[in-house]
């Protein structure tokens, strides 16, 4: 029987983790209990990752971790050790908005904007899995992201437009 514990950290200890965020590796010491959302915001300064409800319902803290969308307030930073993370900050390239961001802009898919980074990251995952979703698939795909301003209609329109833009640009996510 192989008995190689890869890592063990006590409650009062800190653990060194390496995480690649938007293409750059970061190394930090964290408490085991530190949440990924706090690591991204407070330790690394990626403040697009919002804390909304803090209970796992609202999706404002959504990021892409190893290719899938996760709620970063429901993941420990230490779990992301070695992971590849994409936040909203990683979407725009050379000062130009990502097609999904452009679509949200053009369709005015926000009012206060608090939910927007999470909406955009979940849209990224949705369109990566299903490049041409139906309206119902869009609504199901964004069911984990709450918006208290818009009534969702413009967000759904923006996802449709983003899908169209990505298709025209032949851009894969």
């Amino acid at each position: 029987m192989v008995m190689s514990t890869t890592l063990k950290v006590g409650p009062e200890e800190r653990v060194r983790i390496r995480v690649r965020v938007n293409g750059v590796w970061y190394e930090r010491d964290v408490e085991p209990r530190k949440l990924l959302v706090h690591f991204l915001r407070e330790d690394l300064g990626f403040t697009s990752v919002h804390v909304g409800c803090d209970t796992g319902h609202c999706g404002a803290c959504t990021v892409i971790m190893n290719g899938v969308s996760v709620k970063s307030c429901q993941v420990l930073a230490v779990q992301a050790d070695g992971a590849e993370i994409l936040t909203l900050e990683g979407l725009a390239k050379d000062g130009k908005l990502h097609p999904i961001q452009e679509a949200f802009w053009e369709k005015h898919a926000l009012q206060c904007g608090y939910c927007t980074p999470g909406m955009i990251m979940e849209t990224y995952f949705l369109l990566k899995e299903n490049p041409e979703p139906s309206e119902e698939e869009i609504r199901r795909g964004l069911a984990g992201n709450l918006c208290r301003c818009t009534g969702y209609q413009n967000i759904v329109d923006a996802v449709k437009l983003a899908s169209q833009k990505l298709k025209e640009l032949k851009m894969t996510l």
């Binding site: 514990t5 950290v9 409650p11 949440l35 796992g56 899938v68 307030c73 420990l76 779990q79």
Partner: protein, 285 residues
């Protein structure tokens, strides 16, 4: 909200997890974490250590074999949702997955974790009862198989003993013309079930029901098999009277509590409505 302080162990095998859990009763397994993390943040639990099994290799499988389906402890809800072969043979399984939580939760949450957590309103138990699944647990004295009917012992409690973890879930395949469905009544997107009913029916050549299996969640202290309702279907043709009778029996077998999702009386009546819908949905496939 910050979780309480705990230690963290990342293991590379389930045996290693078993050793730690067996020597420290306050240690808890971290799989998908989508139920565990809220419990930590609400400070409802204060584990000594979290035993992270996410890096254990070869546990994410859904193996569809000739006579059975084997599911590894780290298979995530989303994997079921997008499994085309499951949609064609046992649609109730991916249909259950797609109604759990929301996309982000389904990307991380695992079937085994949901079973071990044993929320009395969780979705998987109904479907795994309907498919007569069994659970392979790994413990200090090796492996043992627990039939799903014996697995849940009450709200948030299971037959898993000290140091035991779920290694695999096994569903035996049924030969012949099998139909299945899972219907969930929910108040809002992503919520736990008000009532959830999973149905598996095996139809004979003459259209009569040769075998029936019904699992119900959120309608009692633990998920249960509606045995009387099953008996009311077996050997009969599924006419509306027969379905009505079975649904009525399922309702009488249920024992839901009143809570924010509805009164006990309302939920009991919903057991009847949702059982009927689940049977009809399975038959329509």
């Amino acid at each position: 909200m910050y979780p309480p302080k705990f230690g963290y162990v990342r293991v590379s095998s389930l045996e290693e997890a078993v050793n730690i859990l067996n020597s420290d009763e306050n240690a808890k397994v971290l799989a998908g974490g989508q139920s565990l993390m809220p419990l930590l943040k609400l400070r409802l639990i204060k584990p000594s250590y979290l035993v992270d099994i996410n890096r254990v290799p070869n546990l994410s499988y859904i193996n569809i074999e000739r006579d059975r389906i084997r599911i590894g402890a780290l298979a995530r809800h989303h994997q079921f949702e997008i499994n085309k072969e499951l949609w064609s043979i046992y649609p109730a399984i991916p249909e259950t997955a797609m109604q759990i939580g929301d996309p982000q939760v389904r990307n991380l949450g695992t079937m085994a974790g949901s079973l071990a957590h044993a929320d009395p309103a969780a979705d998987w138990p109904a479907t795994l009862i309907a498919f007569r699944a069994s659970i392979t647990a790994l413990g200090p004295s090796g492996e043992r198989v627990i039939p799903i009917d014996d697995f849940f012992t009450g709200p948030f409690s299971t037959a898993l003993g000290k140091g035991e973890v779920i290694k695999e879930i096994v569903i035996s395949r049924v030969e012949g013309n099998v139909k299945s469905a899972y219907v969930k009544l929910e108040r809002k997107a992503g919520d736990f079930a008000v009532v959830g009913v999973a149905v598996m029916l095996k139809l004979g050549g003459d259209g009569s029901i040769e075998d029936a299996s019904i699992g119900i969640t959120a309608a009692g202290p633990k998920p249960f098999r509606a045995r009387e309702a099953e008996k009311a279907l077996i050997g009969r043709k599924p006419t509306s009277d027969v379905i009505e009778d079975a649904a009525e029996k399922a309702m009488r077998e249920s024992n839901p509590i009143s809570d924010i999702r509805g009164s006990s009386d309302y939920k009991r009546y919903m057991v009847k409505v949702i059982t009927k819908r689940a049977i009809n949905k399975a038959l329509s496939r």
